[in-house]
């Protein structure tokens, strides 16, 4: 790291505005300063809407109309950017500034081979021959650690795995020896094991090539893992900026403190995550009402088995031309057995494609098992399900944006199952119940008069939970309920789900890929890999003394703030 070189990025007083149709102006970025030295990884952290992606777009000249830079300066490698055009004299985006985007599935052109993809930028910017470009591409492939680089140059994106694709994206970003790389959530779409490799790759690039990296992320673990400096943004403004360790361990600004406190720790279990509680008088009263309603059916926590899954197998087949006949078969779930006790939160954890969501869908009745038994409160769940069974088993889905019918008012959406199961005698009474449920999940009672689009992701997820509580279920299946949400919202929702378990005597099947979340929520955990359960244990046992290699691997790779700090303390 040579200090004589100018900083690769020097942003002063940057202000970006979006004029709105109403005549107002949305200030997306409010007068921020940001400096990145060569070889430095600077993390830009904040919740959705904080303006962190806008900063990245502004310096790459990718601001979407009508957004524009109103004031301030951006210097890339000592050369100022022309604010009107978003271009810098002597700086070519793609050559001097490389970009890594969030989704490796869409940031590669599906009709280009890896070689075309890599060479395109080089041939345009570097004025080298096709043969030289190919040689360089091969070097890049080796540098980012793709196995069999020769063969892979001829591959199309769909022939690569997600991790390999993201490596190709990184290689493309590096193709023309940039001085600065803007990485916008580079690992969010990836599994932990792949994430760890990609992060290490980015760190190595910064160290070995002296590339400056602007890392836009919402994941504090990722920041702790590789960032040198960190800037925390809120509503377009910088709240705190400094060396990563200082900011993460001793945040000064109140917002920075709450944001960091909301990150669920993976090494300890907290009774509640330390975020502002929504427990107002109204909420508590509503919860009392719910508790009275539910006491009749549901007992306290006990060892009684509510859900018993034995040797569950699920196969997906491709349909053939003749309806009803299947050609190829994919075994999504291979002989999975576990049980959930009354009042327990049972966790299913694993990487994408391990079959955890299929297990949830099968129990919920959205998918039919090919063999195996599911017993729920003494009823065998096969093809047809009794009304009482359906009523007792409810589900909360992952994506809050598609979980609510856009054409239904919220109170009607919540009242619908209440009326259907005749838990209220008429529509008005059902809507009154809906109001109580909305208050129970911490929303104002009159929220029901609006449509889904009026709510944020976290609020929609609360509404989805309220709807699931309507039929007074005894078991709630939560499929990644918080993975689409910001950390502070996630913390509030996790607290809420815990409260509801105690309140309504619910048993829960909780599915997540996030080990820290699982640790905070669950009593027992099953780790899944390729459709099988590799380890099933109490939460504490699993986290302190994991038996299976795969579990150990997952735990080792999960980015964790405390673990990194501990490691540093040990080495110091």
């Amino acid at each position: 790291m040579t200090k004589t070189k100018p900083p690769v990025l020097d942003i002063r007083n940057l202000r970006v505005e979006y004029p709105l149709a109403t005549g107002d102006v949305l200030v997306a970025v409010k007068d921020i300063d940001l400096v990145i030295q060569p070889g430095e990884i600077h993390a830009l952290v904040g919740e959705s809407g904080a303006g962190k992606t806008t900063v990245g777009n502004a310096l790459m000249g990718l601001l979407q109309a009508p957004g524009k830079i109103v004031s301030g300066s951006i210097d890339i490698a000592g050369k100022p950017i022309d604010l009107r055009t978003g271009r810098t004299e002597g700086i070519v985006p793609g050559r001097d500034v490389g970009a890594i985007f969030q989704d490796p599935m869409t940031s590669l052109n599906p009709l280009f081979t890896v070689q075309d993809q890599l060479c395109e930028g080089m041939l345009t910017h570097l004025k080298i021959s096709a043969r030289e470009a190919r040689a360089r591409a091969l070097d890049l492939m080796k540098a980012v650690g793709i196995p069999e680089p020769e063969r892979r140059l001829g591959s199309y994106p769909h022939q690569l795995s997600g991790g390999q694709r993201q490596r190709v994206v990184i290689a493309t970003a590096l193709a023309c020896d940039p001085q600065l790389i803007v990485a916008d959530e580079p690992t969010t779409a990836l599994d932990v094991s792949v994430q760890a490799q990609i992060l290490k790759l980015i760190r190595d690039l910064a160290d070995q090539r002296g590339v400056g990296v602007l890392l836009v992320t919402h994941n504090m673990g990722v920041v702790a893992e590789i960032a040198d400096r960190v800037t925390i943004m809120q509503n377009g403004a910088v709240v705190e900026s400094g060396p990563a360790r200082e900011v993460l361990t001793a945040p000064k600004a109140p917002y920075a403190r709450t944001l960091i406190a909301a990150v669920p720790p993976i090494d300890t279990r907290l009774e509640r995550l330390p975020v502002p509680s929504e427990e107002t008088k109204v909420t508590l009263e509503a919860r009392d009402a719910v508790r009275r309603n539910n006491k009749k059916g549901n007992a306290e926590r006990s060892d009684e088995v509510v859900l018993d899954v034995r040797n569950l197998c699920v196969e997906y087949g491709k349909g053939s031309l003749i309806p009803g006949r299947k050609t190829s078969v994919f075994k999504a779930v291979k002989s999975v057995s576990f049980n959930v006790k009354r009042g327990e939160i049972f966790g299913l954890v694993g990487e994408s494609g391990c079959g955890k969501t299929t297990v949830a869908n099968t129990i919920a009745g959205l998918v039919t098992q090919s063999s195996g038994d599911i017993d729920f409160q003494g009823n065998s769940l096969g093809g047809h399900r009794a009304r009482s069974v359906r009523q007792s088993l409810q589900m909360v889905f992952q994506d809050p944006y598609s979980a609510l019918n856009p054409r239904l008012r919220i109170n009607n959406a919540i009242a619908e199952p209440i009326l259907f199961y005749k838990l209220a005698s008429n529509g008005a009474e059902a809507r009154q119940d809906a109001k109580t449920l909305l208050e129970t999940v911490g929303l104002p009672g009159d929220a029901g008069l609006r449509f889904a689009h009026a709510f944020s992701g976290g609020q929609r997820q609360r509404i989805a939970i309220a709807r699931a509580l309507g039929p007074r279920p005894s078991m709630l299946i939560c499929d990644e309920p918080t993975s689409a949400l910001d950390v502070s919202v996630q913390a509030q929702l996790l607290n809420l789900l815990k409260d509801l378990r105690d309140l309504a005597g619910l048993s829960m099947l909780f599915i997540s890929h996030d080990l820290a979340v699982i640790r905070q929520m669950c009593d027992r955990i099953a780790v899944m890999k390729s459709g099988e359960i590799v380890e099933l244990a109490d939460t504490e046992t699993l986290f302190t003394a994991p038996k299976h290699d795969y579990t150990r691997e997952l735990l080792r790779l999960a980015p964790s703030l405390e673990r990194i700090l501990e490691r540093e303390r040990a080495s110091a």
């Binding site: 009508p66 009745g365 009304r387 709807r467 039929p471």
Partner: protein, 300 residues
Amino acid sequence: MAMARQSLLHRLPPVSVMIAFLILAVMLVLVIFAPMIAPMDPRDVSSYSLMDMEIPPAFMDGGDPRFLLGTDNQGRDLVSVILFGLRISVLIGIGAVLFAAALGVMLGLVAGYFGGVVDSVVMRIADVLVSFPTILVALLISGIARAQLGTDMVLTWAPVILIFAISVNEWVQYARTVRASTMVEVSRDYVRAAKVIGLPSGRIMVRHILPNVMSSVMVIATINLAGAILTEATLSFLGAGMPPTYPSLGTLIRIGNQFLFSGLWWIAVMPAAVLVILVLAVNVVGDYLRDRFNPKLMAR
């Protein structure tokens, strides 16, 4: 995208669209109040006389101020026959669109929701149907109806037969669109949530999916309205549609066609001009609505 949508919603439609809207509104009023507005009733033989036959429009030499657009070969006032013809054309057009949409939406929902065998059967039938030209199928159906029902019955039931004949092919387009949208909606979590709640399939389809696929149906319906009106006109022109005693615009053009080269051009051109204006106005409005309700510009 949110901003593009807002500005599109707040902006007034272009002048051409406003004119088209105005034309349609005027035509709608004329059609509804035709019996009161028309100088005479073309269905009442006693209200016209052969003495008045083949009089040119009032603005031409030999014109008669009683007959603004002239008269036809039977002495009927063209303004009156066109008003009543327009009435029938619009009625059959709207009827055919409604019938086709209802049938198509229902089959599309069922096919998209259940998939599998149901889907295969419905969509294969659709594929077979659209491989026949609409006009051919419609000719076939009105021919069969004529043979089976006898002339008197056909005269009374002609509009219904035409509506059926035109929609037999038209529903396929609705079914395909609705099926595709339904398949998208079925995979959304709100539909899955409704399934987990335990709601019956019919209710999920009608209450949850239908409102979310309707916007594309409305757009197709507006665009198809012009097509349906034209198909009816074609059938009537070919003699397989409305009878001369109860003429639609197509029938009027057919009658006029016989006199086109004897100098009596107005008998064919006047109803044809009205048909062109009607179809053009419907198309302009349909195109505008399609852009306006483009699902890509609609926020989910």
